[in-house]
Amino acid sequence: MAEIKRVATRDAYGATLVELGNEREDIVVMDADLAAATKTGMFKKAHPDRFFNTGIAEGNMISIAAGLAASGKTVFASSFAMFPAGRAFEQIRNSVAYPGLNVKIAASHAGVSVGEDGATHQCCEDIGIMRTLPGMVILNPADGPEAAAAVRAAAEHKGPVYLRLGRLAVPVFNEETVDFVIGKGQELTAGTDVTVIATGLLVNEALIAAESLKAEGISVRVINMATIKPIDKEIILKAAAETGAIVTAENHNVINGLGSAVAEVLVKNQPVPMEMIGVQDQFGEVGNLDYLADRFQLTAPYIVEAAKKAVARKG
C-alpha cells in the first residue's frame, strides 16, 4: 500500500512563491519577523531585493503592502494568522480592503493545530473576522497541491485575498496539479444520506469519517470547501436538496466560520438539519496535534457522531 504523502500547506506556499517570483517581476513578499516559519524565507533567498521584513510590526506591514500595491506590485504579506487577522485587522480593512488593493494576506499557523505555542497563537477567529470584509476572498486549501494552486489563483485574482495556511504536514489527497477555481467547492466523494462540508485540516478527517460511515451503510458526500468567501452556494444547495443533511467541519470557532457561512446559505434557501464540527467557542491550549484534535473534537469520530445526529434529525 502506497505511503500517504504529507506536505504542510505553508511549505507549498513558500515553494510556489519562489516560482511566482521567477515568473513575475511584480511579485513582492513581506514578513514580520517570522520568515523561517511562514516559509517566505524561501522567497527571500531567491529574490532578496523583493523581500521586505518589517520586523514585529504587523499593522505597518499591511499598510506598507497597500502602498506597494498602489504602486503596481502584487504583494504577499505573511505572518501567523493571529497577528494580521487580529492585531492588523483595521489596517487590512482600511488600507487594503476598502480601497480594494492587490494585497494577499498569507496567514500561516491558523487554528488550534499550531500546537505547543498555546492559546495566544491559536487563532480560531480569523475566518470570522475576515468574512465580514466586503470584497475579501478567503481561501483555506486542504493539502499541498491545493495550496500551491490557491497561491497562484490568489496572485491572478485582482484584489485582497486572505490565504489561510497550516503549520503541520498533512496528507495529500489531490493530484499533483489542481485546477483551483476561487469560489468553487470540490466534491470528493459522492453520497446520498448526508454531506460533510469540510475545510483545511478537517477535509482529511471528513474522508476518514466517510469511510467509517460507509461501512455502517451511511452514504456520505464529502465536499472540500477551500473558498470560504465567496462561498459556493450552488454546491451547498445541491447537497441540501440531494442528501438532506449537512455537517460542517473546520479548524476554527463554530461561531462565524465555515459553519456559519453554510448555515447562512441554507437558512435563506433550503433549511436542512445541520451540525457543526469546530472549536466550540473555547480558547486553545498547549498540546500536540493528536491531543488538540481530540480535545477540541476535530477528528473523524466526532464527524461520524455529528453525521449520524444530522441524519437522525431528518425526520
Partner: protein
Amino acid sequence: MDAITKKRLSVIATKIRMAIIEGTYNAKSGHPGGSLSIADDLAYLYFEEMNIDPANPRWEERDRLVLSKGHAAPALYGALAHRGFFPLEWIPTLRKVSSPLQGHPDMKGIPGVDMSSGSLGQGISCAVGMALAGKLDNKDYRVYTILGDGEIGEGQVWEAAMFASAKGLDNLTVIVDNNNLQIDGSLEEVNSSYPIPEKWAAFGFHVIEIDGNDLEQIEAAVQQAKTVKGKPTAIIQKTVKGKGVSFMENLCNWHGVAPNKEQYDAAMAELSARLQEQEG
C-alpha cells in the same frame, strides 16, 4: 522664493481655504481647522513642487502625496480641484450622497488621490510602501505624507518611521502638522506628544523645523529634504489650526465642526478680501 511665485502661491492658498469653507459649509460637517492649517503646504506642493499631471493621475513617474491626516480632505480636494484633477463644481458636493468627494480621501473615486486614508496612523505606512516601490523600481519620484500632531500618538506611525529610516528611504518626506490642538484639547491637555522634533531625530530622520504657514519656509524645507541622502526627512511645522479665518484660529472647536451660514458668510468675506488684496 521670488515675489511673483510667492504672490501666485499665496493666491492659491487662499483659494484652497475658500474651498475648505465652501465644502464644509455645504456638507454641514467636516474638518475645517486642520484643513486650514495645511493649505499653504498643499499650495506649495501641488502648484510649485510636485511632478504631477492632472491629465494622467496614475502616471507612474509622478510624485505622490498621502494625506495621512485624512480628515483634512477638504484642503486636499481644494488643491486637486484648482490643479485641474476634477471640476471645481465638485467642491460644494463634499460629503453629499452620491458625490465622489467622500468625507475622507478615496483613491477609487477621486482623481489625484494617491491613497485612501482617514484612519489615523495608516497613511504614513502606505507612503513608506510607495517610497519603497520607488527604490525597488529605481524611480526618481518623491513621496510626501502629511500627519497630524495628535495622529503621531498612534503606534503605527513609529513602526513606519522605524522602517523608513532602517531602509534609508530618502525619497520620503514626512510633514508633521503641529497646530498644537487635537479634539479633546491641546496636545498637553490630552496626551502630550512633545517634544516632537527630537522623537523623529531619534528615529533616524533628518529633521527640519519651520513655520508651516510660511510659504518660503515650506519651500526651503522641501528643497533641503531633496538633498538629504540615506535618510528620510521629517518637517515639523508649527501652524495655526484654522489659519486664515480669524475666528477659527487656534481653537479646538473648529476641528470637526462646519461653519453655519453666518460663519460661512464671515469667513468668505474675509477670504475674498484677502484674495483681492493678494491678486492686486
